[in-house]
């Protein structure tokens, strides 16, 4: 079932101060069957750190995508952050902590992933209006598995209930869903089949869960790499060949 697919985990959150831990987590991810890993960096990270992590990924045999998680307090702050950081990272995720931020993030085409707080169901704003905006702007809804593993009892029940509702809304409005580990430590990493099994807890079918782990995240990274390439002009338009000076002809 999974032998021919490539899988991507777009949300690894290793402690960047401890490069050994970063190395272990990336190696583990690759060993578990992920061909592409997205590593979260702070906004002000240096290029050297990103290159070090890229090298670690290369050594582990995994493709690497740099990612930033924006947590703006207001929609103005979000716009400002997007202006400053969009071109610095391959993936931009917005953690929506308020409704105005959630709405702005959903309608902005520079945002790749929408994520919501797991521990506070009242601060999850992925409703019909949000899904409609996200669907038009090609933003995806991200489900982190780590909180599902860490929470217990009533909190986990509420989270599962929210996820079930949100995944149904996403399907209705054709918003792509991606499943990521959201892991900050090795023991929260799982293989793709385990993620599929956990996705059944919020009523995702195996086929959709597999898509959320492979086709959807891979397409997002491919699209962004194309956009970040110097040859990109507009959707469907790119520079094929350059001459030193086209005015000389």
């Amino acid at each position: 079932m999974t032998a021919t697919k490539s899988f991507a985990d777009l949300h690894l959150r290793p402690p960047l101060r401890d490069l050994e831990q970063v190395k272990r987590m990336i190696a583990k991810s690759a060993e578990l069957g992920f061909q592409l890993v997205g590593v979260t960096f702070p906004c002000n990270v240096s290029v050297e750190v990103i290159e070090k992590v890229r090298k670690i990924c290369r050594e582990a045999g995994a493709d690497f995508a740099s990612r930033v998680d924006l947590t703006p307090k207001t929609s103005h702050e979000l716009l400002d952050n997007l202006r400053r950081f969009r071109r610095e990272f391959e993936l931009v995720s917005v953690s929506c902590t308020s409704k105005p931020v959630a709405r702005q993030a959903a309608k902005d085409r520079r945002v790749d992933l929408l994520s919501f707080q797991a521990s506070e169901p009242r601060r999850r704003f992925f409703d019909h209006a949000e899904a409609e905006l996200a669907s038009k702007a090609l933003a995806s809804f991200e489900v982190d598995v780590a909180p599902l593993l860490l929470l217990e009892g009533y909190q986990r029940i509420r989270l599962l209930s929210c996820l079930r509702r949100e995944v149904t809304v996403a399907r209705k409005f054709k918003v792509p869903v991606i499943i990521s580990s959201g892991a900050a430590t090795e023991h929260l990493l799982r293989n793709p089949n385990d993620f599929v099994a956990l996705a059944t807890l919020f009523d995702m079918t195996s086929e959709r869960a597999l898509e959320s782990l492979s086709d959807v995240p891979l397409a997002i990274v491919r699209r962004n790499r194309e956009k970040l390439s110097p040859d990109y002009v507009a959707p469907g338009v790119r520079v094929v060949r350059r001459r030193d000076c086209c005015l000389c002809e």
Binding site: G153, H187, L188, L189, R190, N191, N193, F195, A197, L198
Partner: protein, 101 residues
């Protein structure tokens, strides 16, 4: 009753014995699906090697998605971190052993 056999691999801080593994799986399934759900699972840890961390779990075929989700949700047993991967599923022990050793 049709059954399914799951090949598993356990990773943990320190060694985990068969009893602890059984407890962890039962606890996870009871937490996620309640006593009613657990009663339908027909769950048995058939074999487990502490040295290699590999084992076989048997369950009812109808409860397979439930058991797989429960096993993936396990993070701790007796205060120690534990992580269980499902390597594969088969309808017979013979086929499972052939595939996963």
């Amino acid at each position: 009753m049709r059954r399914r056999y799951l090949a598993i691999r356990v990773e943990s801080e320190g060694s985990v014995d068969k009893g602890e593994l059984t407890d962890a799986v039962w606890k996870a399934i009871t937490q996620l699906f309640g006593e009613y759900g657990a009663s339908q699972a027909g769950l048995v840890v058939i074999a487990y090697d502490e040295q290699t961390g590999r084992g076989v779990v048997r369950c009812s075929h109808k409860a397979l998605p439930m058991v797989k989700a429960s096993i993936a949700a396990i993070t701790k047993t007796n205060g120690r971190l534990i992580l269980i991967h499902v390597l594969g599923v088969s309808g017979t022990l013979k086929a499972l052993r052939k595939r996963y050793g």
